[in-house]
Symmetry: C2
Subunit: 208 residues, 2 copies
DNA sequence: ATTAAAAATGAATATATATTCATAATGTGA
DNA sequence: TCACATTATGAATATATATTCATTTTTAAT
């Protein structure tokens, strides 16, 4: 009798355990100050075992980022396929993103440290791949904004600029939440973010 | 006759040269992929010489960030001591910041990669010091916003949130500019940034 | 020119850790 | 139980580079 199916399941389970351990350690110490040994210990495997699953430390690291990035990208894409108004979608995307991050605090410590470092340090396919996904995501947002303009909900401006501005605001709130010692709900900031983004900060009666 | 004054001047000049070389290399490769040897070569000194000026690689790195950070902080503080309206000041700060970055592209590659990495990786005084300066800067902004609210120019909201949102937008534009292959003027984005921040993105006539 | 102090040097050292691989442990089917 | 295949292991290897320090070079005053 072939137990090959079970084998496969266990292999995947082990892989996942390693990825989870890596997530914990990388989040706490960053890529360079994390040792394979430490990850192995946290994962309760021998050091060499990691190399049966990932061909190098970088491979492990990028796989981790890559898979989680896909996860949230899928969520957002699903949302965007819904036929609602642009502003509704933006709200939904924002909430989705914040919820996801609240569930994946560790991962986002890694992700935000990545934003800048690797683009220019590593020309490997790995770093490239992650970067491309970031770009895709921004493009997706830009499309949504563009549609909002067409439908007359948003002011006409460069949709890419808008996407960057939006992600910028969101990231700064995420970042603040990540380093804050007191734990508050990130989602509670959704209205603030949306308010600033849509309505601006200048007092209304001042406008002509 | 004592030529000690000249000695001092030359010492400082050498120090500056090393810092400039370090800036170039760190910006291109990041902290970990940069070697002291390489910095020494770019600076046209022997490897050991660097250690007559800085006690370690980290010391060199943090000194670099620290001094440049002070430089821009001084500029901003000088601006804030002027007695103009809050919105005027915000405009000025924004332009100052963008101009400074345009003049210090390399430095900001380093600075933006730092934002996240070291807070949690290094508990040394060095990292702490930089972080504290970032916090100070945000506080400064927050104060300005608060004043804007008191004077009725800005909507009432949490001034810290506002400061984060502002820096978030600005950073995303800087980041985009840094990685963009075509070189455009960063300052040309000032109006876009200010527009989004003050007026928001929702089309006016939609508002009740 | 002589000398002593200061500064620069880069080869040698010390260390850290990613990766490998010979071996052990475990699982599988007969 | 046995033989085989697969997987796990961690000590040993290989490498890279931050840092040191004995030596050389430069400086400045006499």
């Amino acid at each position: 009798m072939e137990k090959i199916a079970r084998r496969k399941r266990e292999h995947l389970a082990h892989r996942r355990e390693i990825l989870q351990a890596a997530e914990r350690v990388f989040a706490a110490k960053g890529f360079f100050y994390t040792t394979m040994n430490e990850i192995a210990q946290v994962a309760e495997f021998g050091t060499g075992t990691l190399y049966n699953f990932f061909k190098s430390k970088e491979d492990l690291y990028f796989t981790l980022i890559d898979e989680k990035t896909d996860e949230i990208n899928r969520l957002v894409k699903a949302e965007l396929s819904q036929k609602t108004s642009a502003i509704e979608r933006i709200k939904k995307i924002l909430v989705l993103q914040l919820e996801f991050i609240e569930r994946n605090r560790d991962f986002f410590r890694i992700y935000t440290s990545e934003g800048s470092r690797f683009e220019w340090a590593i020309k490997d396919d790995c770093g490239k791949k992650i970067h491309d996904k970031m770009v895709d995501y921004i493009q997706l947002l830009a499309k949504t904004f563009e549609q909002g303009m067409k439908e007359g909900e948003l002011k006409r401006m460069n949709p890419l600029d808008l996407a960057h501005a939006f992600e910028g605001i969101v990231h700064s709130f995420i970042f603040e939440w990540l380093i804050s010692p007191e734990s508050y709900s990130l989602i509670s900031k959704a209205d603030t973010i949306l308010g600033i983004f849509l309505k601006g900060t200048e007092k209304e009666e001042r406008r002509k």
